[in-house]
Structures are given as C-alpha cells and as structure tokens.
Symmetry: C2
Subunit: 622 residues, 2 copies
Amino acid sequence: MVPPVEGGDAALLPEFPRGPLDAYRARASFSWKELALFTEGEDMLRFKKTIFSALEKDPLFARSPGADLSLEKYRELNFLRCKRIFEYDFLSVEDMFKSPLKVPALIQCLGMYDSSLAVKYLLHSLVFGSAVYSSGSERHLTYIPKIFSMEIFGCFALTELSHGSNTKAIRTTAQYDPATKEFIIHSPDFEAAKFWVGNMGKTATHAVVFAKLHVPGDQCHGLHPFIVQIRDPKTLLPMPGVMVGDMGKKLGQNGLDNGFAMFHKVRVPRQSLLNRMGDVTPEGTYVSPFKDVRQRFGVSLGGLSSGRVSILSLAVVNLKLAMAIALRFSATRRQFGPTEEEEIAVLEYPMQQCRLLPYLAAAYALDHFSKSLFLDLVEFQRGLASGDRSARQAELGREIHALASASKPLASWTAQQGIQECREACGGHGYLAMNRLGVLRDDNDPNCTYEGDNNVLLQQTSNYLLGLLAPRVQDGACFRSPLKSVDFLDAYPSILDQKFEVSSVADCLDSAVALAAYKWLVCYLLRETYQKLNQEKRSGSSDFEARNNCQVSHGRPLALAFLELTVVQRFHEHVHQPCVPPSLRAVLGRLSALYALWSLSRHAALLYRGEASDCGLTDRSS
Amino acid sequence: MVPPVEGGDAALLPEFPRGPLDAYRARASFSWKELALFTEGEDMLRFKKTIFSALEKDPLFARSPGADLSLEKYRELNFLRCKRIFEYDFLSVEDMFKSPLKVPALIQCLGMYDSSLAVKYLLHSLVFGSAVYSSGSERHLTYIPKIFSMEIFGCFALTELSHGSNTKAIRTTAQYDPATKEFIIHSPDFEAAKFWVGNMGKTATHAVVFAKLHVPGDQCHGLHPFIVQIRDPKTLLPMPGVMVGDMGKKLGQNGLDNGFAMFHKVRVPRQSLLNRMGDVTPEGTYVSPFKDVRQRFGVSLGGLSSGRVSILSLAVVNLKLAMAIALRFSATRRQFGPTEEEEIAVLEYPMQQCRLLPYLAAAYALDHFSKSLFLDLVEFQRGLASGDRSARQAELGREIHALASASKPLASWTAQQGIQECREACGGHGYLAMNRLGVLRDDNDPNCTYEGDNNVLLQQTSNYLLGLLAPRVQDGACFRSPLKSVDFLDAYPSILDQKFEVSSVADCLDSAVALAAYKWLVCYLLRETYQKLNQEKRSGSSDFEARNNCQVSHGRPLALAFLELTVVQRFHEHVHQPCVPPSLRAVLGRLSALYALWSLSRHAALLYRGEASDCGLTDRSS
C-alpha cells in the first residue's frame, strides 16, 4: 500500500505556480485553501494527494494531451493502468469501512485522470466484485481475493442487443440439468446477445451473466445472476461455446473495451448461480429466502441505486474539470474592451459570467449532494448487510432509489450542458483536442444512458411521488420518508396557497427564497400530474398509456424539480451550518443562491402559469 | 464533367429497399416522392443524384463507419478526395450562375458524405477563391484557373492566436518598401501567429493573409488581404521565412488540417495586395476607390455574410442526417409495451416523439430558410458585381448581415441540441461510433464558433434592430427593409396591445397563430431592450458597458426571437403557397405549426411576463 502524503498544509496545499491568473487570485474574497479544507476535510485531501502524487510519478500514467492514440493501444494502456491501480492498493478494506467516502473519492480521482480508467476499475471492483459479493453466498467468497489481485477480471452482463431498459424482456436462459447438476447458459438468437458490457470486449475472464432461470418442468423463475468464465485467464481465448468480442469504437471512453457475447449451450456448475435471491437444489427445486416479492424487489433496487450514485459522482468530476479549464481560460483570454487600446478578460463580460458561473455553482451543489447521497446509500447497505428487514429499511431503499434515479439524469445533463457551454465559451481553443473539453464531453455522454436512459429513469422518481400522494388523498396518510426529502409535501395545501412576496432583487440572493419557491413548484407539479393522470385514466386510458401521456409535460418536470429542490435544500443546509468558517460564509452563500435561482429560473413559465391556477387538489380529483 | 443522371422518376427516386421500416412507410399520409420533388425540384434532385452516384462508385470514397483512422491518414484521404471533387467538376461556372442554389447543394452533398471534405472544398474554392476573385483585381485573375485545377491550394488567414472575434486587434503587419516595391509580411510575436487556418496545416501552398498595411512614414491603413505563397507546391516545404504547421487533433473535422503560421519579414511583390478596397502606388502612396467608410464597411459585411450562410447550410445538413438516423432507429427499436408480451416501437412513445419530431420540423424550416437566405445573398452579390451603389443595396447588405449573423447561431445550436437529443434517444446504440451521431455532433460543433462566436454574433442582430428603433422613436421614421423582415415592426404599438385569444388547442395548430405571438414577442423584446439600454446609459454606463449589460437578458433573446420569427414566417409562406400539391398541404402545415409552436414555447416565460406589463414604449424611454 502506498504511504499517505506527509507534511503540513504547505505540502498538502502548495501555492499555485505564478502565472497570468495571479491577478484574479489576488482579488478573491476568501482563501482557496480554507475552502478546500472545508469542502474536503484534511484527511480526504491527504488521500487524494496520495493518489495524484503516485500517478504523477509513474511513467505509465504520463499524459500526452490530444495525442492520436489507436483504439488497440488505448485499451491496452488502460488495462495496464487499471492493474497498476490495484497494485497501488490505495484503499484498504478497513479504510473503506471507516471512511466510506474514500470509495467515491478514489473513483473520482481516477475519473479526473481518465474516465475510461475510472469506469474500468469501477466495473471490475465495484460492479462485478459487489455483484459476486452481495448476490452470492459463502461459496463465492473464493472469488474475492482473485478479484483484488486481478487474477480474474470481471464484467457485468445484463443488457442485450435488443433490450436494455426493459430488463423483463431479457432473453438469455439458464436451464438447470439435474443429471449433471449444471446450468446451461444459452442465447436463443443474436438479438439476445449480451451487449455493451464494459470490460468484456478484450479483457474480462469472468462475467456475471443475467439469465432467466428455468428448472425442470419448464418453470421460469425470472432473471438471476450467474458467474460464468468467458475466457482463459492465461491466453484470453474464449471458453468453448462462448462467442465474445469487442464492439469497436465509441464516441468516448475508448480506453474501455465494451463487448458482446453469445452463449451456445455453455454448461456451468450449479454453484455458479449467485444464490442470495434464490437457489436451486441439486435435484432441481427452486428455493428463495424472500417470500415477499416487494421485499425482494427492494433489495434489487439497492443494487441499482449504487450504480446510479457512482455515475452521479463521475458526472460531477467531468463538470468540475471543464469548469476549471474554462474559467482559467476566461480569466486570461482578452478580447475587445471599452477602448480600442484596452482589452479586457472575457471573464469580465456579463455574457461569459452568465454562461459559466451557474455551472460552477452547480458543480459545488452537486458535489455536495453526491457525497451526501452516497452516505445515505452506505446507511442502507449497512442495513442490508446486518439483515435489517424493518419497514424503515424498505422505505429507505425506495427513497434512495427515487433520489438516485433522478440524480443521475440531473447530474449527467448538467455536466453535458456545462461542458458544451465551456467548450463554446473557450471559442476555437475549446475545440482543440489537447484542451480536453471534447474528451470530457464525450466521456460524460454515456452517463446519460447507461444504468437506465435519463428520461426513463425520471419516471421512477415521478412514480415514487405519485405513489405517496395517492394514499394521502384517499386516506389522509402523511408524507414521511426516512431521509425526510418528501416531508414538506405534507403541507402541500398551504404551500400551494403561498404567494411569492419578495420585493427586491437583493432579497432573492439567499437560497432560502428559491427553496420556498421550489417547494411551491413541486407541490404544484405533483398536484397537476396527479390530476392529469386521473383524467387520462377516467377517459379510458390504460395505466401504461396514462403514464406515457403524462410523462413529457408533467412527470418529467416533476421529477427534475423535486430532485433540484433536494439538491438545493441539502446544499443550503450545508453552507448555513454553524461550523462554516466565517470567512467562507459569503462565498458559499452566493454559490448556493446562484445554483438555486438559476435552476429555478428554468421553470419560470411554470411559476407564471401556476399563479393563474388556484384550484385545490381535492376539487378536481375527487 | 460528370454527365447528369438520366432516366425518369424511378431512376431518380427509386423505392427504398424492403425492411423493418416498411410498416411505418406504408402508414404515411403522403407520398415521400412528391414531398422530395416539392422540396428540391427535379433539376436539383438530379444534380444531387449525380454527385452521390459518382461518389458511390468511386473506391476513394468507400466508407468504413466507425473506423479507427489515424489523423495523418484521414487528412491525406480528405485531401485526395477534395482533389477528386475538383476533377469531377460537378458544377460549371455557367451552371453556378444559372442555378446558384447548386453551390450550397454541392457543399451540402459533400457535407452529407463528410464535413471535413465539405469544409476543405469550401475553404479552397469559395473562401480562398472568392477572396482572391472579389478582393483582388484583374492582375489576380491568373490565380483563378490554378485554383480550380488545384495547381495551387489555398487558405484564408485572418484569425491569430490571441485574436479572433476582435479583428481590429489583429497584429500581423505588411510594411511597404518602395526601394524594392515589396511588402514585408511580419508576425511581431507568437500571439500574432495566424491560427486555426483551415487547409494551412499540411496542404495549402497559398494563403490570403490579413495584415495591417503600413506605408512609409508609418501610416497604418488597417487590415488588408495579401496573397502570400507559404509552401512550395512541388515539395510542400515552407517558403523562406514562413514557419507553418499543423495544429493537431481537434474534437472533430479531423480530415481538415487547421494550421498556424508565423511570418519572419517575408517579402512579397507589391502586386500581392488584393487591391479592391485599397492599393499602394509603386512610390508608396495609399489610394482607395471607397471614400465613404460606411460603404467600405458594407462591402466587407457582404463577405462575412457569405461565410455565415454557408455554415447555416452545413448545420442543416448535420441536423438532417441525425434525424434520419434517429427516426429510423426509433421506428424499429422496440422496448416495453402495454403488456409484458407486446413491445412497441419507441417512436410510439410521446416522450420519444417530443424529443425528436420538433427537430424534424426544424430541419425542414431551417432548410427552407437557408436556401431563401442564400438567394437573398446572391441578389446582394449581383448588385455588388454590377457596381450598384444605391441606398437599397447598402440596406440589403445590412439586412442580410443581420439575418446571417443570427441564423448561424440558431442553426448551429439547433443542430447541436438536435444531434445530442438524437444521440441520447438512440440509447447505447447512439453511442457507437459506427452509427455516426458522434461524428455529426463533433463535426457540427465548430459551426457554433468559426466565422464569429454565436453569442458575439447575436449582438450584430440586436444592434441592427435597436438601430432601426431609435430613429423611429426619435423622428417617427418607418421600419422598412429590402427583404421586409422588419416591416411588421412598424405597427409595434398596436401589436403590443394585442392579446392572445385562441380558445382551443386545435386552433393553435396553424403556424399563423404562433406567428402572431412571435410578432408580439419581438416587439416586446425590442421595446424592453431599448428601454434597458437607455436606462443603463442614463445611469452613467458607457456605450460598451451598457450593451454588455443588456445583452444576456435582452439583446440575445431579441436577436434569437427575431430570427426565429423570420424562419417561421418564410416557412409558413412557403407551405401555404397555392402551388403546394394538395396532398402535401396537411403534412407541411403540421411541420410548420410544430416548428413554430415548439420554438415559441421556449419563450413561454416571456409571454407570461409580457402579459403583466402594459406600459407603452414612449412612457418609459422619453
């Protein structure tokens, strides 16, 4: 294991090298070191510094920005780097349990270096590794040390060529054969080929394959995960019956080898079934410890959330990097000015400020949110590990699922749009590959797609909120959730009666003002969505049709506004804690207000429209 | 010259090969052949078919979608292809004059094949070639045949490392030396290096270099264009004193070799000055045929417009290609459905329709607009060529400049956002390089930047409108422009009094309704911008500050709304002509209404806000 960086603040946060940014830095109203310490904490800064210092000194990680690397070479390099990261062993299992935030911090550091590396590492250790660990049982523990030594290299094979979002339509089968005590993994046709599987293209030796489990008598028990060896670890040649290959060039993340695989009646031992959710006896009888389908569903939701929370954190990294590049450029690039002789930095233009600064605020707010949601997830996973089967634990799973499902869209889109704005705001220089904005944009793009298309995921969140409103309207149930993100909705009738009563612009420069407006907005959208859904159903639409017809104009903005409110709320509370150093209060307060107002302003038409409507919920829906 | 494609409609518009799209095609309410004939006309369809057929048969143009081509190889291939296009000689000079729309059509066909090729061809023939032709005089005509035979290969060198948008700050000098009758071209330092020059990186032998012209006595006469040989056409080695090179990898358009150049006291003959705007006598006296600075400025604006109109047309091509890819995918990709057994095409989902169909409508509306604006530009250039120095000709130049300056931003952003939406709407498959959406996005991106940053350009359009309002308010002058795009503003006081009075959704499904709302919106924004500008000035801001402070919240939306209105207006008129075949009226009317309403809906907050304000212009500004 690499020893942590020693020394005091000067070693941890050395001064920037002198340069054209000095003038702007001298004008700052706060100490950047103080802000870094407040945002990260000394222990985390030291951890990140340890990682960066190791990579800086290692020639394998030497950068050649804008280089024209071939696909083959890039994939090879990325694999070697991933292996090296395991060798560095930056994070012990004990550390992981003591400071869980170091897990996303490590992924973020790798993402700062190269998204392809972060994702490759994440897929092997956290996605493949966690799937084996948490979906398997004691008999699968032998895999764990092999995963950390990279003796085997893994991937997670769920998506198929013709089905991604709709997992129920996955068609790979696993038929149990009691005669040999084996499962037969089979792809019925090429549309059922596993597809897009990261690490599968060139390097994975093992895959967690999701397949429909059949036992004799042709009973199907739905999707289950199996650990299947797909390549010989020595030669990397495919195992008999496995047709596996690389999907070729992608728009980005080209260091990652996404692959496809078809299985032709591949026989694996009965023990290959990762049997936490259900198992098959040697004789061929299906057994499951979960009697309650809803509970079983809650457990699987937890797994989905962890992927989405990781993506949230990767999107934030991309946004941060782009902001640093674009803001530094804007502070040094001079163009036009009050006179022909005097040119001013483009950062001085209100246009450039309006284009970039809201995304800077978004980076801070989303960074804080991603950490806090990760800690919520850790709480949930500890509950799972300790066998907590309380109602609170189940509710926590649902709440985190709803938050994670909307936070991946919000963060990946904010990063996507922010990076694009940075690219354009840097003019031609932003278009040069060596300036990295293109790579960031291309590498960020799959965050909008994998682990669920953004627009599809938002439906999970709007459904969650609608699911809470119905019992309230019908039985007067309370809005209550373990993390309290929906508790304010309890007062929705009085919130909807509130009017926006701020008289001056200066009074708006506090995120509390935007927060109040956001609460109104979410109540308004929830009521409108509920009414629209009921109206659709009354006019004869099926549930499927009714939801589809509501999603564009109602469900989608509802889910986004709810998540934005949650991000604003958490950041607002964070920057108004008593422990905030007095010298940072002003700048953090401004960041919080800027993010809140900017996000809110995109709903301005709804705020105007809402003012015109004043009918209560029960009037229409009853 | 390649002979045009012969044969009747069947050869010109053959049936599509049978496939999974048949079911959707059979459901169409109109004949796609009829629509193609109406949109393009038979002569144009034949011209495009000739080009595509030639490229399809030529192995040099064989495609390998998603291939991992090295930078060097791609640039070499693109140069060879560009040369081959000149050999094909698709468009004679006579044809160009007879059917000027064939010029953008040729560029669009090349852009459909590959943006790098279109831009390389455009830069050499139209940008470099036109600059020599229209900025030079008889003594420069010897270059023209060499340009078309590619005996010499050209580039247009205006931008420098530190200055792009602010051309007044360009610092390359051209000092006249009467002793040798030469100009000395010189780059004072590396910040004055010519930068981003397309074709300069590897292949150009000659450059039109913009430099500050100095005559003895150190008098500076501002920027002038010089034709400078930068490489030996045989060896491609740089000429003495010229340091020239390639800028390396970009986010896209990597077939195009963008370059930089520094000139170290490079001596060129006096005749190298492209002397249409001004000349230097052998003795060293500066002479210019243009006495009126405003007139001279009008002439140069014409040149700028032509670049912007070309970019508009390239952006439209990118959007069209992306739409075809995403819509075809959406009609065949099935995911989820009303029951677990039955999956439906993703195009059936209201969400997918809302994501894609407005961009389809935008492609039609902007395609029509780009052609009509090109024809306006041709009218203007014919006036220039015939020596028309009337007030109308000058006004036409200004109006086209205002339209072109906002149309490049509108089209390049619409394409940028549309392609991104297509990429995401195709899920993972959209992220695979071979499916081309990434290349389209990356190749479209510089359209937002070159020939003027989009946000900077919009200021040209808002300034044009404000410049017309001031004399109206002060002296009661009329709003009149040669193309009549501003004439409606004459009725602004009564337009501002109008209320939106449509009672049903069905009544909105006519672009006339959106048009009326757009007229109100532009009047409203113009009034608000004018008032805000005057208010800024009254409170002590300089003109520079006042304009900067108005641009984000006022000038920018004003310019965009005005251009959108113009696009909607022209498309509305186009699809409501008596010559529209009756069977196409419904579908074209729907496209027009969809584009108009969708564009307008993005200003919804302004429409609500405007309703609340009812004070007249003179009340506040006087």
